[in-house]
Symmetry: C2
Subunit: 661 residues, 2 copies
């Protein structure tokens, strides 16, 4: 790829981005979209904009950017919770470190790479991108120490910034824990694996256990009940009733006069909906009450136990209760809104096997995903495509069609496949049996992160350098060398990946394409009434892995192929604006992990750093520069020691609460 082509591509993508953002700045002013773009605010304030027609509504304006930049961290903390702040800090960290890296690499490393070999340089726009990578350096070049020094500076500053962020977030987490003292959940312990006995119900078992062993601090308890089958049917009926009521609300006026109503799409008379609601109305409340009284509710082997002090609850959650560690398992209860009720029913004994099964399942999924990817990458060869799908032959005669099919079809199919990943991982995370929404999302986030790093980074690098992946796995010693050979070559691909996938994902994030369409369908086709309670919570499990992947790309390419950095930096700036806007306006925070996404981000960053250093070691080895390679080894060791220090010093604060703040 030439520099000119890259710049053209960047220009197009920047244009598209500006277009989308302008679109957004117009769309957000339309009153019918207010539900999509200001979900959080509406849910909070229960008021809406009036739909008066004014010209200003159709003029793009950058005011939202200003507002997004102006809002402080405290504002984000109070409106979107600690997790949002953590996400914000990850972006800030990325901007800081990659600004430095960009300055160092563009002015220090890039010229060295460009003039690395004695060759006739063409004009820059038509120069190959590879002349800007370390691949252009001569072997045994004495200038490789510059790369090594830059690597040292980047690693050192990254570690320093990481440590500062870690400390800051740990402090915020402690403050968060102190501030939320009034929450019931802090005084509550969730007990699972209550042993079954024939002569005692769970209720009395819990009471006798805690009055015997934790008498001074025990307050009361509540056993969890599972709804029976009949109860489920009744609940279902109630839901249906509510839906019908909603239809009535829009189509039947208050005096209950029956009107015929035409569904917007199919035109069927809605008379048929009239019978059931009235019947339901007659039965009304007493029926619901009866059902609650009569239906036998099954007891779960789980209970909430309330304590008088927060410290007592903490102690009970930390201490092993009996000599069987799988009975009377105690843990601090999640907040009520955060509870994932249906998993409470699972017997505690089952959980470990579920965890192993889902782990294996997600690993298998990760590797099976390679099959469609490689198949699709095969499609880029036109001949193969025509062989496999012969009916396309006629279609593929036009040149534009050919380019479209070979250029876009594979990436479109790949994108569609990629869209299935977060829901699949979320399903795996659900099967694991977490007891809170936040835990489930965190688990899904980890799984998606591993998946993304493996399938976007490693598979591309390894398949790009035309070596068999399984072959590479069986020779771990050669992996650094293979990576070192492949990364400078693949840097071009990663640069375009940042341009297309990165920026595009931000545009789609800010545009809320799905939300927009769904809102349209709801409003104008299904004609459903708006319910302001239904607001999405921020999809950390898709967005955090994306940001961390770009961090990984940035670190690994920084010294070796610095041309990616300005584009990446632009991505992070844009992400900073967009995500802050989303936190303030769009997403609602119903549950919060209390900053537990930070260790994930931290681990990913340390992994990226060490991987970068290992790859550089390989590159210096390939370039036969023993000095640079020799100096890289202590850097790896220092980074690992730093990691170990952070794990000792700060990680425990994310595992438990300290007694004294």
């Amino acid at each position: 790829m030439k520099v000119g082509a890259l710049l053209t591509s960047a220009g197009i993508n920047i244009g598209l981005c500006i277009l989308f953002l302008s679109f957004y700045s117009v769309l957000r002013k339309q009153p019918q979209n207010v539900k999509v773009y200001f979900g959080r605010r509406i849910a909070e304030q229960h008021k809406r904009l009036r739909g008066a027609f004014i010209l200003e509504r159709f003029v793009p304006s950058p005011s939202w950017i200003v507002r997004s930049l102006q809002c402080t961290e405290d504002e984000i903390l109070s409106t979107a919770g600690l997790d949002a702040v953590v996400f914000n800090r990850v972006l800030v960290f990325s901007i800081r470190i990659f600004s430095l890296a960009a300055i160092l690499c563009l002015f220090g490393v890039l010229p060295l790479n460009y003039f690395g070999q004695d060759m006739r340089h063409e004009r820059i726009p038509s120069a190959s991108l590879e002349t800007f990578t370390i691949g252009n350096m001569k072997e045994k070049s004495i200038w490789l120490w510059v790369h090594c020094v830059v690597l040292y500076i980047i690693s050192g500053v990254a570690c320093f910034l990481l440590y500062m962020e870690y400390k800051r977030i740990a402090r915020l987490r402690l403050l968060h824990l102190v501030r939320t003292t009034s929450k019931h959940s802090h005084f509550t312990v969730l007990v699972r694996g209550i042993p079954k006995s024939t002569h005692e119900s769970f209720n009395s078992a819990v009471e006798s256990f805690f009055t015997t062993y934790h008498a001074p601090s025990y307050l009361s308890h509540q056993v969890v009940y599972k709804v029976g089958k009949l109860q489920k049917i009744v609940t279902g009926a109630k839901k249906v009733y509510r839906k019908f009521k909603h239809f009535k609300g829009t189509t039947v006026d208050q005096t209950c006069r029956s009107v015929t109503y035409r569904c917007c799409l199919c035109g069927v008379s809605s008379n048929s909906f009239q019978l059931l609601p009235t019947e339901e109305q007659e039965r009304g409340k007493p029926c619901v009450k009866n059902s609650n009284l009569n239906l036998p509710a099954e007891e779960c082997a789980a209970a909430f136990v309330f304590f008088k002090t927060r410290y007592a609850a903490l102690i009970v959650s930390k201490i092993l209760q009996t000599s069987n560690p799988m009975k009377w398992v105690t843990s601090l209860a999640p907040e009520p809104k955060d509870m994932y009720w249906s998993n409470l029913w699972l017997p505690y004994k089952q959980l470990w096997i579920r965890r192993i099964a889902t782990l294996l399942g997600s690993i298998v999924f990760m590797f099976i995903f390679l099959v469609p990817v490689t198949f699709i990458q095969g499609l880029t060869q036109l001949e193969q495509l025509q062989q496999r799908l012969p009916f396309l032959k006629g279609l593929l005669k036009g040149k534009i069609m050919t380019q479209l099919v070979t250029g876009y079809l594979p990436s479109v199919i790949l994108q569609i496949f990629l869209y299935t990943v977060p829901p699949t991982m979320m399903m795996f995370a659900t099967l694991e049996g977490p007891i809170s929404h936040s835990e489930r999302k965190k688990s899904a986030c980890c799984k998606v992160l591993y998946f993304t790093i493996w399938n976007v980074f490693f598979v591309n690098v390894l398949s790009g350098s035309a070596i068999n992946q399984l072959n590479a796995l069986s020779r771990p010693k050669d992996i650094p060398m293979e990576l070192a050979r492949a990364i400078p070559l693949q840097a071009t691909f990663f640069t375009t990946y940042v341009l297309t996938s990165g920026w595009a994902s931000l545009s789609s994030q800010v545009m809320q394409l799905f939300g927009l369409i769904w809102n349209f369908v709801r409003k104008y086709i299904l004609r459903m009434k708006e319910d302001s309670d239904w607001v999405l919570s921020f999809p950390y499990h898709t967005e955090l892995p994306k940001v961390l992947l770009f961090g990984l790309l940035g670190f690994t390419c920084s010294v070796l192929a610095p041309l990616i950095l300005p584009f990446l930096l632009l991505y992070f700036f844009l992400a900073y604006i967009v995500y802050r806007n989303q936190f303030i306006n769009v997403y609602c925070t119903r549950y919060d992990t209390g900053g537990l996404y930070w260790p994930i981000a931290y681990n990913a960053t340390i992994f990226s750093l060490v991987l970068t250093q290992i790859i550089c070691l390989g590159v210096f080895g390939l370039k036969e520069s023993p000095v640079a390679a020799g100096f890289t080894v202590p850097l790896i060791i220092i980074t690992l020691l730093f990691n170990q220090y952070c794990r000792m010093r700060l990680l425990p604060l994310f595992r438990t609460f300290p007694h004294r703040f």
Copy 2:
């Protein structure tokens, strides 16, 4: 190697063993050795046998074997502590599982192996040992399912027995914890990393911290002091004084009349020893008292805090105290006898880096140890030996000398090198900074275990099959295949290893060769007075790895080369007798981990089982038996699941104490 040769070797070794044991049964009756063979009893009872000459003393008798077998587990528990019981249970487990394995393999697998190929069998004594291994089976043999079934039975029974033992030891551990309620250490928490402040001493800092945050249960505390340099000199002087007093006690009579005394070896007059003691006597007690009063003792950043209840101490040790996890670090205090005082001085901040450094150090040591080993193995080739040490040429002309040098010299040198391993690992364990003797020994035990398994098992297997070790490490996929190829070939070596090293180590253990010689030197050459306090504690860090290594050899060879099993079984029977005898009579238990050696033994056994299964998988693959190989895969998965279950169900009991027993 032929069967006849093996049997001859076994006969010789059995003869030697019987000889040594007879020697032992005679030597133990000699009153001058009573210190060596009944150290524990003497330390307990403070009485000794009279030295009357009777003939019975010089007749070998098996009475000690009977007594060793008769003593019950409760007796061992009460005399030698829980760790001894754990060691005993490991031996019982090994005897049980290898009895079953021996029956199954000798009557089921061995004939199959022997008649595996259509060949003219020679007479059994001159048959090659390899005809008894699985290497003799035909490829694609339909009889390989027998091996697979036997593997299933052994694995299943091993898991069942392991689980039973695990439960039993967990129960014993809980009983042990309940019974020892009167010990002070259970009410004591060791606080480390007390923050330094200029306006407050450690003493008042500890007091204010615990009265503020743990007022209801806090009783008192004691800051740890380090002796100053002057104090050290005084202590040294006191020690010297005590030694001189001891010399005086033996050579100077009570009226303090100065006599010249000839040292037994060098014959120097001991007049010169007279001045200092008398001076010291004059200064006597007041001096010691003065030194205690005047010398400034340095405060350590560590303190013992005493609580009113055991539960309170447990809670304080479990809870994170402040927002800095490296300050105010609390843990349950070891028993006073178990304390490793000199390590208390180490700042807590340093420990993590010490741990990493010693880990790296021991890994490096493990690999560096390969150098002398391979060098020595090179010596077995006579030509090389003559080339390197030309002066031996004349000596090596005689046939017996040649055999001696090539046959024994390498193994002798290897043994000498091996004797350096436990002290080295103990040194590494000390450098790690453990605060108790038991923790230090446990850490050394783990290190020696890894070392033994790596250097005896893997290096022999891999070097025996003439592949480069580092090469093998770089291709992990091929390791099962390489192991599968090598194990049947190396089985002969392992059998002789059991015969020589195993039995010999037991003989030397029961004979206490070092103790015997040292006792002789003390008594008759140095003429030192006996001090009955000086009794060794059981060297778990050398003995447990040995037993576990033989377990590993047993499992890996059982199905593949069953001829090792009877010899191994004999070893375990003998070990059972010998070690029980040692526990009752010889070693003193000053400190106890409370059964913490069991998880080590358990992990090693699970590792051996899974390794066996992986090797069998490789062998079945080599023999092209897809059915047998296919059935082995689920076995590996089941074993790993069993392991995970045990870790969930029983391991937490070895990490902490349950609140309710």
